[in-house]
Structures are given as C-alpha cells and as structure tokens.
Symmetry: D2
Subunit: 483 residues, 4 copies
Amino acid sequence: MLRDEKQYIESLRDGRVVYYRGDKVKDVTTHRALRAAVNHASLVYKWQADDDKRGLTVYKDPENGDVSSFFKIPRSSDDLIERFNLIYQTTRFGRGTFNIIKAIGSDAIFALMLVTRRIDSATGSKYAERVTRFYKNVIKNDPAIAVAQTDVKGDRLLRPSEQPDPDMYVRIVERRKDGIVVRGAKAHTTQGPVSNEIIVLPTRAMTEKDADYAVAFAVQANAPGLKMISKPERAAEAAMNDEWFVTGKENVETESITIFDDVFVPWDRVFLAGEWQFAGSLAVMFPTYHRFTAISYRAGIADMFIGLGKLLAEYNGVDDKSHIRRDVVELIKYKEMLRSTAISSAMMADLDTETGIVIPNKVLTNVGKLIANESYMDVVKHLVDIAGGLAATLPASSDFNNPEEKVYLEKYLIGKKGTNAVERARIISTVKEIISSFGALYTAAMLHAEGSIEASVLELYRSYDYKDSKKLAMYASGISEKL
Amino acid sequence: MLRDEKQYIESLRDGRVVYYRGDKVKDVTTHRALRAAVNHASLVYKWQADDDKRGLTVYKDPENGDVSSFFKIPRSSDDLIERFNLIYQTTRFGRGTFNIIKAIGSDAIFALMLVTRRIDSATGSKYAERVTRFYKNVIKNDPAIAVAQTDVKGDRLLRPSEQPDPDMYVRIVERRKDGIVVRGAKAHTTQGPVSNEIIVLPTRAMTEKDADYAVAFAVQANAPGLKMISKPERAAEAAMNDEWFVTGKENVETESITIFDDVFVPWDRVFLAGEWQFAGSLAVMFPTYHRFTAISYRAGIADMFIGLGKLLAEYNGVDDKSHIRRDVVELIKYKEMLRSTAISSAMMADLDTETGIVIPNKVLTNVGKLIANESYMDVVKHLVDIAGGLAATLPASSDFNNPEEKVYLEKYLIGKKGTNAVERARIISTVKEIISSFGALYTAAMLHAEGSIEASVLELYRSYDYKDSKKLAMYASGISEKL
Amino acid sequence: MLRDEKQYIESLRDGRVVYYRGDKVKDVTTHRALRAAVNHASLVYKWQADDDKRGLTVYKDPENGDVSSFFKIPRSSDDLIERFNLIYQTTRFGRGTFNIIKAIGSDAIFALMLVTRRIDSATGSKYAERVTRFYKNVIKNDPAIAVAQTDVKGDRLLRPSEQPDPDMYVRIVERRKDGIVVRGAKAHTTQGPVSNEIIVLPTRAMTEKDADYAVAFAVQANAPGLKMISKPERAAEAAMNDEWFVTGKENVETESITIFDDVFVPWDRVFLAGEWQFAGSLAVMFPTYHRFTAISYRAGIADMFIGLGKLLAEYNGVDDKSHIRRDVVELIKYKEMLRSTAISSAMMADLDTETGIVIPNKVLTNVGKLIANESYMDVVKHLVDIAGGLAATLPASSDFNNPEEKVYLEKYLIGKKGTNAVERARIISTVKEIISSFGALYTAAMLHAEGSIEASVLELYRSYDYKDSKKLAMYASGISEKL
Amino acid sequence: MLRDEKQYIESLRDGRVVYYRGDKVKDVTTHRALRAAVNHASLVYKWQADDDKRGLTVYKDPENGDVSSFFKIPRSSDDLIERFNLIYQTTRFGRGTFNIIKAIGSDAIFALMLVTRRIDSATGSKYAERVTRFYKNVIKNDPAIAVAQTDVKGDRLLRPSEQPDPDMYVRIVERRKDGIVVRGAKAHTTQGPVSNEIIVLPTRAMTEKDADYAVAFAVQANAPGLKMISKPERAAEAAMNDEWFVTGKENVETESITIFDDVFVPWDRVFLAGEWQFAGSLAVMFPTYHRFTAISYRAGIADMFIGLGKLLAEYNGVDDKSHIRRDVVELIKYKEMLRSTAISSAMMADLDTETGIVIPNKVLTNVGKLIANESYMDVVKHLVDIAGGLAATLPASSDFNNPEEKVYLEKYLIGKKGTNAVERARIISTVKEIISSFGALYTAAMLHAEGSIEASVLELYRSYDYKDSKKLAMYASGISEKL
C-alpha cells in the first residue's frame, strides 16, 4: 500500500535518537536543516500520487496491487533498463540530488534474496524465507529504508577480529533465544536519520575468526540503543542565506554515523548471523546492484552538468570557442559513458536461475562505476572552466535584491546580447552551490560512495574472466595454433 | 553466392595498377609483402567455408541463399549486436588485425541506402534503385570491397572549390551521356590494392560551389586510370626476418593513396553526382556505421592486449603488484568501454522508418569512438609498463635458434618459477611487434582511422540534443519551476 | 616606513563603500565575515614586527630603510628566488591561504615600471616618473594594495568598443585638466574591500578604436564613486559554526565586483591613458609577474595537501598501500612541479637592460601556471581518495563537545592503533573545509585566478620561440644537412 | 688525451663476442646494422675535434689537459647546468638520439666516487682509490663506456639469493687472490657491443644473504667470458630500405643482453665486493645522476617533437586551429617541464662535503623523470594528432623517386599553398620513423630506461622529507598552534 508524503513525515516522529551539531534533535521533520532531507525523501511519496510521475514510480503488481517501482524485482534486462530510467529520472526530478530512500533498500533486498538462497542451500538455514517476509512487509508498508554497510574499521590493515577494540566492525555480542544483540558503528548511513528501516550488511569478506562480524539484519530507526549522529548539512544551511540555492533548500540527503549501542534484533529480522563464508558474497552482491544504481543516478547529475555548461557557454557567448566546445563534450562524454555502461550491463545481465532474479553485469557495472569515480573531478574542472571565476566571486542573491546594488549587477553581469544578467547569475550560482555548499558531498561522495576507485579496481581485477583474452594472446604470439 | 579463397585470390590478377616502394607490382597475390594483405583478406572467404565459423560469418537469406554476414542489413538492435560480435570475433581470428574487406563496404552500402532514399524523396532522383542493384550484385558476387573517403585535401582551411589546385578533392571533371569522369586522389584506402570494388564517398559537407565534389560511386579495382600507391608494409617486411612475428606474416592490411586519373564511371554505379546538399549527410551517415565497426574491432584488439598484459604479469611473477593490477585494469576498462558503447548504441539504435534499416546510436557510437582514439596511447603505456624494457631490447627469434645463444637466453630470460622462457619471450615479442613494425599503423590508425578525435568531438557537440539537459539546469537553478 | 597591524586596521575605517549580502557594510574591520579578511591581511603587517619572520618579510633598503620584502624590485635571479620563498612561506603562515595584499600590488608596479618606460621611449610621455613616484609613496606609506584587472566583459566575442553597452570594460569617460574620469566594473578584485589602494590595469590588447579603454591608474579605496560588492565569505561564515575551521576563521581573502561610477583620478595616478598599442603589453607583463606569484603560493597550498594526505595515510594505517602511495606521490609531484618551474623561471629570467629589472621567464612561468590550473582538481581527487568518505560525512566540532556523543566519536573514529581520534577528525575536517566552505574559492580560483588554462595555452603558443625546434626537425628529417 | 673517430672505431676490432640475429658478428664496425650504432657513438669523438662543438664537448682540465666534458666532475650548480646543456645539445646533434657512450659512464663514476668514499669510511676499505685510478685512466684513454645495471631478475618477487637459479643476478662465484670471477646476465646494456669499457653496478638493495650479489666493477668489452647478444636494430634495418630515414641510418644505439660467463675481474677494477649494506646506496646514487641525464636528453627529443609538430601544423595549414594549438602546447609543456626540473634540480643540488661533488636534487630529478615517463605516450598522441593518418600510410621514399608516381605524389601530397609536398612528406616520414622502426625503442625506453614509473614513484615516496608539510597540516588543522 503506497503511503503519501504526510504519512511518511508523520512516521518520522517516533522517538528516534538523532544528533545534529552537538544537539539532540527533537523532531527531524521540523529541524532547521534536517527538514530539507525530510522534504527530499518525501518526494518519493509525492511522486507516487502525482499523475505525471505515477507511471514511472509505481507499478501494478498482480498480487500486491500498487507498489513502488523501486521495489520491483528485476527479472529481465528490460526491468533493469527501467530501473536505470527510474533512478536517472528521479535524480533529475531532485535537481541533481539522487533520491536514495527506496533505491538503496531495494538494492539490499535483491542482494539478500540471492545470497540467502545460496546460504540456505549450503547450510540448511531458513534465511530466504525471512527475507521474503521482510520484502512483503516492505511492499505493504512502503517504508523509507537506509542501508548501513561501511564499518568504521579502525586500523584498515587489520581484520575485524584482530582490532585492538573489538567493536570496530558491527558484531553480535549476544545470541538470545528471541534474537541477537549487536554492537558497533557504521559510517556514512545516507538518510538514516529520516528513514523508517535500516538494513545492516557486512562490509567485507570474513574469516572463521570473524564469524561474529558476519551479520546482516534490519532494524527500525527508533530501535532502543540506536543512535545517529548526522553530519552538518551545509547545503541546507547555506540555502538559508541564499534563496538561489534551491537544491540546498529542498533536495538534500543527510548522512549519519550510526551507532549500535547493544541493539536487540529479533530473529525474524536477522538475515546472516555467523555464516562467515557468505559475508564476502553479500559484501559483493549488494554493491553490484548499488553500483548499477550509482551509475544511473550519476548519469542524472551529469545531465544537469551538461545543461549548466551549455547554457553558460551560450550566455557567455563563447559557444563557438573550441576549448569551450571541448569542455562541453567532456560533460557529454561523462554522462553518456555512464548511460552506456548502465544499458549494456542491463543487456548483459546474469540470470540467477534459482530465484529468477537478474543481476547487472558485474564487469560493465564496475567499469561504469570506476569511470564515474575517477573522472568526476575532471568533469567539474570542465564545468568550472566554462563558468569562469564568478563561480567563486558571484555576489549573493540578496545583493540582487538591494536596489542600490541591483542596478550595477544587472548592468555589469550581463553576458551575450539578448541574455538576462540575473538568469546568468542564477546558473553560475548553481555551479557555485555544487562546488561549495554541496562541495564536500559531491567530491567525497563521487569518490567514495558505493565504493572507492580502488574497490572497483580490485573487483574488476579479481572477477574478470581472462580465459578468452589469454587464448587470443597465445594465438597472436604464435604459441598456440588455434584460437 | 559465396566465393572461396581461391576465387578471391584469382580475382586479384586483373591488371590493376599498384605501386610498392617505387615498383609497379606485377601480381599482388605473389608480391613479397602484399601477399600478407591478400592472405589476411582471403580469411574472410575461408571462414565462409569453415564449419566452426560459418555460423558466424554466413547467414541464410530467404531470397538470396547463403550470404556473407557482413552484408546482412541491420533491421533491429539484435542485428547490430550480432554485427558487433561478427567484427569483434573476426578481429580476434586475425590475431588482432581487423578484417575490413567486407565490413567497410557494407558500412558504405547501408549509408548509401539511407541517404539516397532521402535524396530521391527530395529531388526525384533514382539513386536508391542503383544502390539496391549494386547491393544485389554484391551479395551475389561476394566481392572484396574497399572504401575511399578521405580526400588529400591540400590546404585544410579551404573548401574544395577554393583550392589553388581544383583536384585536391575528388571531383566530376566531365558528365557524359553514359556516365561521369572523375579526377582526384583519396588517401588511406585500406585494402584498396587487394579489393575488387572501391566505393568512393565524399569526405565532408559541401556548398553549392562545391557541387562537382559532391560525388559518390563504385569502381572496380582495375578500372582504367585508377592507380594505387601502397604504403610500405613494414609489418610484413619485419616478419620476413623474424619468425615470431606471426601477425605480420599473415595478418596485415595495406593502405594506398588511390589516384583517379580521369576514371570513367557508368551511371549505374554513380550514387551522388552534384546534389551538394546531401554530401554532408552521407559524410556523416557512413562514419556512424563505420565508427560502430571501429569500436567493435578495437574491442577485439583490446582483448588481445588484456591477454598479453595478464600473461606477462603472470610470467614475470608480478601478478599481485598493485601497480601492475592497475595496468591490467586499464586494459580491461578500455575493452569494456568499447564493448559497452557498442552494445548500448545497438540497443539505442534509430530506426529509419522508410527503409526499415537501423542506425547505431550516433552519440553512443561517437562517445565510444572518442574513447577508443584518445585512450589508445595510454593503453599501450599500461601494456608496455607490464612488459618491461625487453619490449625494446629482446633478441630476435633467430637468436633463440642459435644453440650457442639459446643456452643463455633460455637460462636468463626465465620469469617466475615454472614458466617457460621462450613462451615469455614470444609474448614480449608480440608486444614488440605491436609497438614497432605495427607501430605506425597502430598509433596513427587508432588516432585517425574512421575519424580523428576532433571529428568525434565536433560530431558530438553539434548533434547532441541539449533540450532536456538545459531544462534540468534551468530547473536546478530555480529559474524554471518545472522540469 | 613599516606600518603595524593596528595602523593597517585603523586605515580601513575611511568611509569606503562596501556591500555584503545586500547590506552596506558600516565597518569592514568589525563586520562578522569581512573581519576574517581584515585579519588575514593584517598578518602581513604583524610579520614585519615579528622577530622570527622579519628577516623574511622586511629588507633594509640603503636609501629608504626598512621596506616590505614584497616591494623589493627584483634585479637578479636570486631576488626572484627570494620572492618565490617569501610568497611560498607566507602562504604557509596563512594556513594555505595566499596573502595577496602586497604581492599583487608589487607585481603590478614592476610591470608598470617596465611598460611605462617603453611607452615613454616610444611616445615621449612621462608615465615612468609617475610610477616611480607612486612606488616611492608605496614603500614609504606601506599600504595594502589590490589590483583590479578583469573587466566584466559582456559579450566575450566583442571588443570593448563593439559592446552594446560601452561600459563593459573600464574606460575614460572624461579627460580633464587635472585628471580623468573613469567608468566601468572589474570582477574578482581580491581583497579590494580591505585594501588601501587599488591599481587598475587593462585586461587585454586593444585596437585604436578601443583607445579609451587603454587605461591604467591607481585609486584609493574610499574614492568617491568607487563601490565594492563583496562575495559572500562562506569560509568565514562556516567557521562561525565550526571551531575546527581555523583557516576560515582567520585566513580568508574576500573578492569584490569593483564598480567605477565615474571616479575621478588625478593625472599623477594615471599610468596609461589612451596609448592603446601598449595595453596588450601591460596585459601580458603583469600576468608574467603575477603567474610567478601564483606558482609560488600554490606550491604553499600543495605543501599543505602533502601534509594532510600523508598524515591521513598514517592515521588510517594505510601508509603502505600502493594506491595510497601513488596518491601521496601525486601531491608531491604537483608541489614540486610548481617549485621547479618557479626556480627555473627565476634562473632563466630576462633582464630588462633599461630598468635593470628582471622578468620571470615567461615560458617556464606559464608552463608552471598551466600545470597548476589543469592538475588541481586531480590533486584534490588524490587527497580525498586518501581522506575517505568522512571528508563528506564527518560530524561537526560541536558533536565532539557534547559528552553524550563524544564517547562514541572518540571510540569509533579512531584509526591506526596509537593514533588520536580527535586529531584524525580535525585533519579530515580540514580536508572537508577545503572542498566545502573553501570549495568554490579553491576550485574556481585554481582554475581561473591569474588567468585560465586557455590563457596560458595561448600565451605559450604565441610566445614560444620555435626557431631551434624547427631547425632540429628539418635536420632530423634530412631536409637540411646542418643543425 | 682525446681520441678521434678513427681511433675509436679501430678500438672496437678487439675480438669481442657479439651476436646479432643469431649470427656471431665478425666486426661490429662493418656490420650492416651495428655500424649505425658505431657511427652514432663515433660522433662523440668527432665533436671533440669539431671547431663548432669543441667548446661544448671538451674542457681544459688544469691538470690533465683536454678532457671530454662528459667526464667533468660536477662541483657546482653551474656545472650541472652545463651538463644538462651538453646532453641536451648532443641529443639534438644526433637527430633526437641520445648519445650515451660517455654520459652513462660518467654518471656511474660520479656515483662510485661518492659511495665508495662512504664505504671506505665505514669499513676501512680502499675502493675510492681504485675508482680514482679508474677515472684517471678514463680521462687519459677516452674510452667509450657502457653501464650494465639491470639484472635479468627471474622471479621478480624473490631476492637474488632466493631465486631457484642463483645466477638471476650477477654475482661473485669465486674470490681469488688477484680478483673475482663473476657470473650472471644484465639486460638492456645500451651500446655495450660498441663500447670499450663496461661498468657493472648492482640493481637493488641487498640483504646479508645477498652479499655475493653486492658487486660493482669494470670490464673491457673483449674480456674472456663476456658475451653480448644485441637486439635487432630495426631502425637501422628499416633505413636500408628508405633513404628518408636518416636517423635510423646514422643515429642508432644498440642494446644487448650482456652475459658474464665466469668473467675474471682483477681487484683494481672491483668497486664493491660483498658490502651488501651499500648496494642499495649505489643502486640509488647512480640513477640520481642518470635520471638527471635522462631528463636532459629527453628535453632534446622533445625539442624535435615541437619542431615536427609545429612544422606539420604549418605545412597542413592548420596552425590556427584550436585543437592543433593545444597539441603543440602539450609538446612544449613536456619539453619545458623536463628543462625546468633539470635546471631546478641543478640549482637545488646537494653538495657532498667530503668529495666536493654535487648531486642533482633527488626529488626534482625524480619528479622530472616521472613526468618524462608517464607523459611520453600522450606526447606522441599529440604529435600524431597533428601529423594525421599519413604517419601510417605515407608511401616510401622510393615511390617519390619513380617518375610515374612522383608526378602524382607531388601533386596530391601538397599541403598549404606555397609549401613543398616532398618536404611535407619527409617530415611526416620522420614522425613515421619515430612510431615504427624506432617505435619499440622509443615506447619501451621512454617507459623503462633509467627506471620505470614505479621506480620513481617509490623513490619519491620513500625519500621525500614530509616534516614541514606535516607541520603545516597540523597547523592548518588547528592541532598545533605554531608552524
């Protein structure tokens, strides 16, 4: 059953423990900064009721009626292409801010469906049923879901069980008849503070000694012992002072350090509890879906960059300059490479025959993700090369509201004849927002969210099937006579 | 009707005028160097009879029986994906050397089918029928086809009609009742000297003053007045001295400067003659197909690079070194980006409703091509970084044949324990061949064949549809309130 | 006579017209945000009295006594190397924020000394004397100086005199007996609002029709008709909410749009007034000095990046990871390339024999500047790759002050054993400051300040002496027999 | 006493054992391919007698009279700048081919002088005297010197003493009263087959178990047991077929695998024999000099690239195209970065107070070397982007000699009006030579000679002094209050 915005917003007033800039937050929905994150997440619910967007964001499930399209289990290449489009378009609807609140949860659920089936086959466990039950509740209750995967890690060179402090990775501290008790902390939980459910996944492969760290489960955001320290939302704060920062005002995602201070999880919500052999499998399957999501939403961001760059080239009247042309083409190249890897990884998807679920092609997804990460800063360079120095030195929107200044600004910030100085300034202002109040987010997220450059490099190196390539090399070298 | 190797080879003894290193070539099929090009082209005919490869290279046309798969008109995304696979695999069969001899001809024919239909619609001309007749003959006679497009150009900043010497672009010097007489020269005609047919296309958009240069046609390779000056085949020549250079010995393509010294072309073989408004359209449509071909064969080359790199990493025992891993991943990335853009441009192909022919997606094809060109040198860097200095300083195969030297070479060129010194040397030797006897070809062809970097940049900049991107930018900037 | 901090600060209370976020600023020295810019500039005066730094920032002039080292006219390569060191070190003293307040003024004065001498020789004018007098006053009165060069430009493809609005470049609107009246606006005037003097230079070469735009002069910051609209100082504002943002709190430079609303300039302060032939010469000479300054201060910024990256590698315990090593080496490479071009351009400086002043080598300076601009974003990528996702998601300093949160943060944000969680967080926080509250400044300034990428490309292409290179190419090609 | 060309050439007829393409070479001076290497080396002797070049290549030593400038011990920054110029210019004299024959020997001798002094101080050995005697003989006898450093290495992950075959690194197999007997093989010995002396250095740091591998010495090229397997000289061979390949005809360096089949070395020529603690020191000191040499000669090569690129831009008439301009500027940037690091590393050289010898600045030298390696392929890309497809498809010089073809080639290969088709073709031909017959050498040598990319990365990472950078980072982060 689809919820509406109000129901979603109301659901957040549940006693959750959230901190912001050193203060305990009374109500995230009315908090000066976090409400921008609430507003952003609520859009997913709004679209479900919106005539224009309903076709994209809702599908009719024969069994369950109207369901959020994010939760549609991919069973074909076409389903994955639809999913790409869903994520791409909703990122555009959010003015370039990805809307994670159902996307990441479904990525996690798909991965859990696949991996728990394998665990059950190997060990006789019954995890898959629990995941199915959880999924059914999800499509029925339509919650906002965050996923907490990245542990805080302590000394990066030591395994979980080797750390001086055993809590550097989330772990089971007690197994009870009715469930488990977990302790530890996860970093970078996007939209955790404004979610209903938090799915927790292991962050890496484990050894037998790390068995207590091989744990996956779901908890509600107001679970006793769960505490979230939100990052400062600079984008939202900056928007309080500048009315032109519309993205910061309305389309922000928050991130938290999510602390599990001995949180109890009943068995029905536990999806992995000690089967260390499968931690790695889950730690790879989830990113495969989530990196597919990543190249999809990043294509949406890139589309905005193309528009900003091309418009500024036109407003500045330098549309015909060869180096500006090259700047714009680099923006196009970035977006189209992401779109290309998304489409091709959907087309070359792997079907899991046991579950009937398709998995995005791992190689093509990681190639897209690698490009998305390693080229991002270069793309910003090209955008700012077009925008010019005003991307740093532009006055504030309030300067344009003061009549004494306005007369000068409208006169002197004009670009090519026939263009509008204020429009030009607003577009530059959007570039400025991207590289300043959104700067830390964009820079660090584009480099680290859904896995770092090195993560994709390792995944590609290890999982690539070199057989045919090697055969060809042997043949080309004349060592073997047949291909 | 499919020809066999012998028929193909026999067909080249037809009095054609070919020069090589200052000598007129009596018989290209027995010429010391050109025979490597003949051998390479003949493989296309051999595969047609080969049980293993027949399924790939031949298709059953309901009307015309067995036809070379290269000539299969693409009518769906799947047809284009098959075409990608055909070109990718046959490049692998040729030890990394693309086999152009039917691929390029079909690229040209598809483009001619589409554009002549448009010309006929606009002007009432009857070109499309001629193209259809030519195509029917092609699938019946199974010729080897070269395409000559790039004019010699003289002063690059002047249009054809502005050049001091009017022959810098191929042009109609006489219109006769039975046909036209053409003059000029085309550069870089791949496999011209070993082809049966040469299709000539204009190289750029034209103005009304350039009408005589708006000319497309097909001639036979032995047409009176046609003269081809072949480039020196260094790869073939080097292979005479080094038995390890198996690609150079067997899989070489030649290129010629193709001179039209007042060549007569009967009307039935003329596909454009003065309709200057359509020269540009043809000059863009052909590259769209041909760049799709390019990213397909380059994926094949890249597959060989992956194999060479990975094998050498293993032979050298440095498979676990992080910088070597990164080298290998760069090779993977290159290939997979090309594969990705090929697949996605097939999936996002445009259907020409009048002809029922599909056209590879222009943006995705050009993005793939741009990457293929601009990243190639970097890819070689990564391959040679793995191969080490021996890629320059390796002794010749004959040194390994001299027992006095062999004892030392087998002792001292060993890599990781358990590997074979001669195999290692042969693989390094293949890298050496790529950067030396094939070096000019690889370097300049990867940068210029099927269009330079700048050609793809311009095409992308001009043809990109910025509408949605701009809308998004206006929306994100708060200038427009709706997306 | 050297001023002290107090004198400097006092001198800013002079009735100047400055706007900030739509408000007229009563007193820049007490303004909530601009006072950070005042504080930063005042350091230059503080160092002059500081025992430790006096040796670096003050020199004893035989004629004039103690003079700021920034104003020392370079007469040898060693002088330029000292100047590099002065700017490099003072940038480090400012926690990575360049201190422009005397550096840019001296760059302008050196350029004016050289070019006015040439104008006087050619035209019989007496500009050089005026520049000398101005310089003497400068070393006597020790003012803070801003330079306004970049015009707002309107349509970038039109010359000054061709613009629809004639005021798009600063111009002489009236020539009076006692001086000139100027109108127009300059963008990006760094520290204009907190300076005493503003030197105005033309931004480009001019034609005869643009003669009124060929104008250079100095005005005092409180000159009637002069109005400065400051950019919002996000770095300073963000620091109000986060005590860890020490750079934003203390070391900020502001930038203004500087409006000349019919400002009168007496002749003695006019250094170019109509000699359009020399506008280009001045527009190139100033950047040569100022780009030398740029590579010097950017080496200082890069030094901070090295330290941040290396420390975080150590705190995170990933100091031995190959990809992290590569990240750090890229930071080193960036700094050392800048240092290298500064030193070599000092060594290969050109001596102007008429004035005895040395000019940094233009080619080496522009090569350094080009690298500084085009590699900056890549350098940030490497820094943030080391820092990890916390560079976006780190809680605020106030979270560390709340005891409820502190216990968790100190436990969970620990890195390698033996390191301190708060120190680690503060260093990450500094990275975050660089990419967020300083983000627009760093990104756009590193790409555009002192000239864009394209500006250095054009300068290099046009001014490079190709003679010897061409000779060598002709010789290597066997066309000429001698080198 | 300076030798002349004849004396040098005569000295090579000394019974040395050299193999070429499987044949034992009777006389390297008359061998069809190796004579190009002899000719190239002989130029160093020719210049010594040449009025024009004598000033550069000869210096007057107060004690020893005329001495080759290559052997001048650097005692000041100016000496190093002179050395840069010597190597830069002589590379230009050799049409872009570095002349190693005295440069590398002197690099080795300087390193030996410094390190043996340290060994002697630490251990009481007398190596330094031997090096001095060897040096005195060198300046007296004026020999051609090769250096053999890179061992064949076997399994790259194992230390010398851990290899399955103990001969994978050159080692002492016997210590006799009169000297040592050595066994093993060195790869990539440039000009070994045409040298008089071969200096052997260890390739890496050693542990105590590797003591027998800690060995340095000098042998004569005809020493019993010494065998050299030359690489095929494709550049020289290709030049036999193309008279335009003047560099290949006259300016080639050969490389050999140099085999020590139990070669006896008398004690007076042994410079390290077991002091394993110093192997690493020598293995780093030599590259510091030799990488300084490398950036110097590569600046010479780059100068040729600039000339080729700029000339072709002009001949093609595309001098004003923005993307071509960018291509040329990339060539300039490459050369000037190398020049810059050479000059700055000379200026910031370290003085060894015990010997009075200056050592090029290690950081700046390695930064230059790193750039030289990692940017080379990109530089070729820019050169070939300008040159166009003819860099692959240009006919041979002999085609231009055949009158039948010549008439077409001269007509159709013309570029911009007023230029000469044959000159244009010859310049393109030189580009072709660089990427084909010289291709393996250029590509692999630019990536691996004098140390790979990874070698410079490791050297920089390990030897960089992070102290001040870290202090700055702590200060900028507010952790420390003083810089």
